[in-house]
């Protein structure tokens, strides 16, 4: 029975191989029998040695990874439109890999019984299947190899830990920007500026005849050798160096070194006599190699679509895992990763402003709150953010607010796409209560500080850890000054904040055993965030605020500053600084290996040594809490 849902399914699958070559009748016949499966994040679709399912799968929304659970290696990463779990059904054997939802996903299950006869009838489908079964390359992130079925690796290959660059295919940009030989130099430069590219291909009769890079403008035009009105023919490098596609990274590097050039032209048959398919630049190679923050920053800044940033964030995670493995000091890791995350957010805001069509009416600042504001966010967590804009005349306020709310909606949605969950308490700039003018914010902050109930303390604790993610710094400074002036007037606020800092549940019981959660989904797990990290974070905040130190929002940096300000407590503060870093590192490692936020820890999985390490940090927590109790006389006033 053809229905709306089957039409929707057909509409989707027809865009991807092998379904793109099917005729409409077979397509609809298949679509009507599809099952739509919902998988929550981290749930298993099939495991190693499981019996064949009656369906193979295509990712509709979300992402699925194919893993080897024995080595916990991710062997392939299936994006929207990729199919998986097909080969075992053809080979008539059990699954060799485990498929797991990497994000919350919706997958289509396509019945094999129905697909087999269709595949046999259709030559193109058969060829596609043969090619993908036979393919041995494995680069999870290269778009050019997507849609292949990786179920085929035999054990020998699975054991290979490193992907060698000489086997990895270099991905190249397929969006060719070209001009003709008669184009003027100025026109070509304008086109390159508009498209934000560093090189342009010169074609004649659809064949590549030359290439111009930024360097050619400097060497041959600005030096005065050629006027900007001359044709590009006078400055282009010709002939072009051409290669066929499926060039490996090493091959491409060699080719560039050999001819001392930075761009290769990829053509259909590898000679200049066929049409160009794309350009492979040194930059593309660097991105393929990946593990380099500078390259990632550049790539993020170039991204014009949110989806692209999402892909780049995967590389950031690979980088993070590598750093942790190499035992690089956490302070440095956090700096690099936060810098990369900040760049992502900046780019997202830029993209969103472009979407708005009109530039912002007044200056504004996008604030990162919570862990991101403290530069302590290494894994993807919830987004907490706020927006502040310059004061405007009262009659313009509604209009201005509407603009920034609209902008915030674009930004929070895009952040959600790249992997930041929406804040469940709606503390986001897209909430009208978190998108205000400078004066409105000041009023709100004054209210919190002068009426400190438990809620106000919670609000302000999120709010005092903020950093500028995008926009005008003076707005932020103005807010900070206002906070310190107001806190001076209401010293009792600090006592409430201090009291709030002592509210976190204790990490250990009377006999120094770990206290675990009593019920809920995380029963018997240790809550690292609220029992260990939060007390340290909260304590640092109230202490630093009492010293009126602004512009340091990072917890361990706050402790380092405190050690400087109070030499008599130096040792304790440095211990706290160390403990914070150690705990965060611990949490990040846990999060990476379990693909979650790392907040809840299964104690049984820890080694004796790890447990000892954890317990050592608890000593610092206890002592800092005692210091706060004494200093702010919390018990006297509230007890």
């Amino acid at each position: 029975m053809k229905n709306l849902i089957s039409e929707r399914v057909a509409d989707f699958i027809k865009n991807y191989p092998p379904f793109n070559v099917l005729d409409n009748t077979s397509l609809f016949q298949l679509a009507e029998q599809v099952i739509i499966v919902y998988k929550e994040k981290n749930s298993v679709i099939f495991t190693v040695d499981e019996n064949q399912h009656s369906h193979f799968y295509m990712v509709h929304k979300g992402a699925v990874t194919l893993n080897n659970p024995a080595t916990s290696n991710i062997l392939d990463y299936c994006d929207e439109g990729d199919i998986f779990g097909l080969r075992p059904l053809f080979a008539n054997e059990n699954y060799k890999l485990e498929a797991r939802a990497h994000e919350e996903s919706i997958i289509y299950g396509i019945p094999i019984d129905l697909f087999k006869p269709i595949a046999k009838q259709n030559e193109q489908v058969t060829i596609f299947l043969m090619e993908s079964f036979a393919s041995n390359t494995r680069n999870p992130y290269a778009k050019s190899q997507k849609g292949q079925l990786y179920d085929i690796e035999d054990n020998e290959e699975i054991n290979k830990e490193v992907v060698l660059p000489d086997l990895q295919l270099a991905s190249y940009s397929k969006k060719l920007i070209t001009c003709s030989t008669r184009t003027s130099i100025q026109k070509a430069a304008e086109l390159m500026t508009k498209k934000q590219i560093g090189s342009i291909l010169v074609v004649s009769k659809e064949l590549p005849v030359g290439i111009i890079t930024d360097k050619d403008f400097r060497n041959k035009v600005i030096t005065g050798k050629q006027p900007i009105t001359a044709s590009v023919k006078t400055i282009m490098a010709s002939p072009v160096i051409t290669y066929p596609k499926n060039l490996t990274i090493t091959q491409a590097q060699m080719a560039m070194m050999k001819s001392n050039i930075s761009h290769l032209v990829i053509t259909e048959d590898g000679t200049p006599n066929t049409a160009a398919l794309g350009i492979l630049s040194k930059h593309d190679l660097m991105v393929s190699l990946g593990d380099n923050p500078a390259v990632l920053v550049k790539a993020i800044k170039r991204a014009t679509r949110t989806k692209k940033i999402k892909q780049l964030r995967k590389s950031i995670m690979v980088l993070l895992a590598g750093y942790l493995e190499q035992n690089i000091p956490l302070g440095i890791i956090a700096k690099i990763i936060s810098e990369l995350n900040d760049t992502c957010i900046k780019q997202v805001v830029e993209i969103s402003i472009n979407k708005m069509g009109t530039p912002p009416p007044v200056k504004f600042a996008w604030l990162a709150l919570g862990s991101q504001g403290r530069s302590e966010q290494l894994l993807h967590t919830d987004q907490d953010n706020a927006l502040v804009f310059e004061d405007v005349p009262e009659e313009d306020l509604p209009k201005t607010t509407t603009y920034f709310l609209e902008l915030s909606k674009h930004v929070t949605k895009a952040l959600n796409v790249i992997g930041y969950e929406y804040c469940p308490a709606d503390m986001m700039a897209s909430n009208p209560k978190w998108c205000l003018s400078l004066q409105e914010w000041k009023n709100k902050l004054s209210y919190w500080i002068s009426n400190p109930g438990p809620n106000e303390v919670l609000m302000s604790s999120i709010f005092f850890d903020y950093s500028l993610a995008y926009g005008e710094r003076s707005l932020l400074d103005n807010m900070s000054d206002h906070i310190f002036r107001t806190v001076d007037k209401y010293p009792i606020f600090l006592v409430h904040l201090a009291n709030g800092a002592l509210q976190s549940p204790s990490p250990t019981g009377f006999f120094r055993q770990f206290l675990v959660e009593q019920d809920g989904q995380h029963k018997d797990f240790f809550d690292l965030k609220s029992r260990a990290l939060r007390p340290l974070i909260d304590a640092a905040r109230v202490l630093i605020l009492s010293h009126s130190v602004k512009a340091i929002s990072n917890t361990w940096e706050r402790y380092e500053k405190l050690a400087e300000l109070e030499p008599n407590n130096k040792e304790l503060y440095l211990a706290c600084s160390y403990a914070t870093k150690a705990l965060l590192k611990f949490r990040t490692k846990q999060g990476l290996s379990h693909h979650d936020s790392g907040r809840f820890i299964e104690l049984e999985q820890l080694t004796k040594q790890e447990k000892m390490k954890l317990k050592r940090t608890f000593k610092a927590i206890k002592e800092i809490q005692e210091l706060i109790t004494l200093r702010f006389k919390v018990t006297n006033i509230l007890g």
């Binding site: 849902i5 929707r8 399914v9 994040k41 919350e104 503390m427 106000e456 919670l458 809920g520 989904q521």
Partner: protein
């Protein structure tokens, strides 16, 4: 009302077999439950004056929706309300094959069985369905009903400053959960959107303490 209930023997056979399904006890395990997510398009908002134009529904078993097993029917109309045509585009006796109200009810009962009914702002859809049943001298639906509009609110954290809205539209849910709004305002299309939203809500609620069917009904 209960006093003038029809005696069981007057009820048609299809109702009896529907009713019999409820004699079996349902599984306590949430993952074993069957859900029928439905949406109705109607000529208007009055239970008495207006009529159902179409019913669309999908069935969820173990987080799987089978495309083959969806429910999509259009009803013959004697009444016609011009004002809502622009919303759902269903013209009276359009090109679709339409069936009578009573056979639509019979088909629907066969489809839904003793599954748990899920709908967005379920009160309205249930009201329309129950009034339709009543017109043919049949009792009300016996199924357990979940409203995605209500259970969505359970995923939100209640906190100072952030009072959840009292009402979330299907469009807002689709937006929050990034569900494509294609086929919006067709009964089956809306049912599908509601089904995906329902699955996503449930996966978020499962993390909470004491999650069970009962906790959703509260």
């Amino acid at each position: 009302m209960g006093l003038f209930k029809k005696t069981p023997k007057n009820l048609p056979e299809f109702w009896k077999s529907y009713e019999n399904l409820f004699k079996e006890t349902q599984s306590k395990n949430f993952d074993d439950l069957v859900f029928v997510v439905l949406d109705t398009e109607t000529t208007g908002f009055s239970f008495e004056e207006d009529r159902i134009l179409s019913i669309g529904a999908v069935k969820i078993k173990k987080e799987i929706i089978s495309v083959q097993d969806v429910f999509d029917i259009y009803l013959e109309q004697e009444k016609f309300n011009k004002e809502t045509v622009h919303v759902h585009g269903l013209l009276k006796n359009g090109q679709r094959d339409c069936i009578s109200e009573i056979s639509a009810m019979q088909k629907f009962l066969e489809y839904v069985g003793n599954a748990i009914i899920v709908a967005h702002h379920a009160g309205f859809d249930m009201g329309m369905l129950n009034t339709a049943l009543e017109r043919h001298g049949l009792p009300k639906l016996k199924n357990t009903v979940l409203d995605t509009g209500v259970i969505y609110k359970k995923t939100l954290i209640k906190s100072y400053l952030v009072q959840p809205k009292s009402n979330y539209s299907l469009d807002e849910l689709a937006e929050k959960f990034s569900i494509s709004r294609k086929d919006r305002h067709t009964a089956l299309g809306d049912a599908y959107i509601t089904a995906v939203a329902f699955l996503k809500i449930i996966s978020r609620l499962k993390e909470k303490k004491n999650f069970s069917l009962k906790s959703l009904l509260r």
